[in-house]
Amino acid sequence: MNENFKNKKILIVDDTAFMRNALCKILTELGFPLGYIEQAENGKVGLEILNKTYAEKKQPFDLVFCDWNMPTMTGIEFLKAVRKSPALFKDIPFILVTTDSEKEKVIEAVKYKVTDYIIKPVTKESIEGCLDAMEW
């Protein structure tokens, strides 16, 4: 278990509760405390959580995992909104979760400084690979 993970705050954005819960389970198994993981069902709610955290001067989030394909504010729209935000969270590491058939589109996200992407199904190994690449 990685000691570096124990104070990291993570935001998971996905409209499918099953996927949010599955990712949350993987993250807790890797050593991220459950109390430091928050979930949002779309980009709009995700943005509200980030803004509220900033406004209330709570511990900022360290990383966002976001689904690409969501009906209310897609992953790329959410990423754009975060990067355009005047708040301190605008440079937050941001990982897009996508399907194999959508991966070509992820190149568009590079313009908005996406940190990395993961192809579904999300596994413990793919998350570890991402965190290793970020040198966490």
Binding site: N21, A22, T99, D100, S101, V122
Partner: protein, 140 residues
């Protein structure tokens, strides 16, 4: 092409659904729920995993609903087989379970399950999960 529209997601009316479920009551309920949504009744039903492997070859399948507990294994065994077979690339796959199976089922996401439905389901919830899984896999 005739379509079924659920939550603004447009799906072909004549989609072939595949149901792997050993309880006749839930087989019937699933078929009824799909028919009530407006699909044209192209449903193949298998009682167990061995039968499912055989029946899958008979007709092209566009969407799979599988029970978690089956007489000859777990739904996850069937899911693994589907996700390892390129003939079924990108096909939506939803697990169906009782409340007791929810904790166990979460690991199926790592194999490629799209979602799960808890028995007995509300029709609205059933419709939403079918359309969402389809939208994410097929209708991008």
């Amino acid at each position: 092409m005739s379509t079924v529209i659920i939550d603004e997601v447009e799906m072909p009316k004549n989609m072939n659904f595949f149901i792997l479920e050993d309880t006749p009551l839930f087989q019937k309920k699933m078929v009824d729920s799909l028919n009530d949504l407006g699909f044209s009744g192209n449903v193949t039903v298998a009682d167990n995993i061995a039968m499912a492997y055989k029946k899958l070859e008979d007709k092209k399948t566009h969407f799979i609903l599988s029970d978690w507990n089956l007489p000859d294994g777990k739904g996850i065994d069937f899911l693994k087989k589907i996700r390892a077979d390129s003939n079924y690339d990108g096909i939506p796959f939803i697990m169906v379970t009782t409340m007791d199976g929810v904790d166990e089922i979460i690991d199926a996401a790592q194999i490629g399950a799209d979602d799960y439905i808890i028995k007995p389901w509300e029709e609205d919830e059933f419709a939403k999960k079918i359309s969402s899984a389809y939208q994410k896999r097929v209708n991008k």
